[in-house]
Symmetry: C2
Subunit: 174 residues, 2 copies
């Protein structure tokens, strides 16, 4: 499948609703536990997604499309949510994510990105030159990666309860 | 986390809504493609979930709670959906899944399962003796496994579009 802005937005606009339906009002034992050690809970992941909306995806896309000479991306802070989410309920985070995501989709649409724009480049702190359509594709896949992760984190809470079925449940072995 | 009927139903009742929000009205290019070879598309997975509702989870739970002497489970057909889904749109399948799942949750609640019932056993065609709480936990984890799988199948459609970011996206390597 080739990158399509329309088909990308189809996924991007669903993510907040999917996460709200999956997580809102769920018992905290599901949403505040992680996979052990330094891994993230569902609560942590939503904070991470909010930080991405505020500092990463669209900010970088706009830099690529700007007149800036260097177009060097700021490094992304993968741990910002541990500070930013403090004192917030999961419901607040889900609402915040929905709000920033919807605003970003509106801004994204207003950029009127052309096929030619999609080939423009910026400079990633690790990868060097990257292309706008790669950034936007990654935004979509990153959403799906975290939906998949949240399903896995929830599933693992029952790892010791499924008995012999663990053999058939790939998600518990990841 | 120990098995809890209440907390299990919290997840089971969300799954149809989550899948509807994730998949309904999405371009067919997202939902009818698979991960290559004999793997399943999102469309195939929904058919599989419907077949589970009709022949597997609750049917087996009711057999465990019945007066049947042997309590031997029928083997589950993992490929039934390829015949059963024929001619149906994804929207129809999502609606069908919601309907059978909601009916099953109603029946599950009406069984008034006690703590003692949860320890009762049946005979699985592969594993031999299994316990009711293991079966019900597996029902929950199985839902989450397929939510995670669908996110992965969608993500993989952009595998060639993300460029160097593939290195950071675990979901594309599974």
């Amino acid at each position: 499948m080739k990158f399509s802005l329309h088909q990308s937005i189809e996924i991007l606009e669903r993510t907040p609703v999917v996460l709200q339906n999956l997580l809102e009002s769920l018992s905290a034992i599901w949403t505040s536990n992680n996979e052990g050690g330094e891994t993230w809970s569902a609560y942590d992941v939503i904070g991470h997604l909010i930080h991405g909306e505020k500092t990463d995806w669209l900010t970088r896309a706009e830099l690529i499309l700007s007149d800036d000479v260097e177009k060097k991306f700021q490094p992304f802070d993968r741990f910002a949510q541990f500070e930013n989410s403090k004192g917030k309920t999961l419901k607040q985070l889900l609402d915040d994510f929905k709000e920033v995501r919807n605003a970003n989709i509106k801004r994204l649409k207003s950029l009127n990105i052309t096929e030619r724009d999609l080939e423009k480049t910026g400079v990633h702190p690790t990868f060097g030159e990257v292309i706008l359509y790669q950034l936007l594709s990654t935004w979509v896949v990153h959403d799906l990666d975290h939906i998949s992760q949240i399903a896995r984190v929830l599933a693992k809470q029952y790892k010791n309860e499924v008995g012999p079925w663990i053999e058939f449940l790939k998600i518990l072995k990841q």
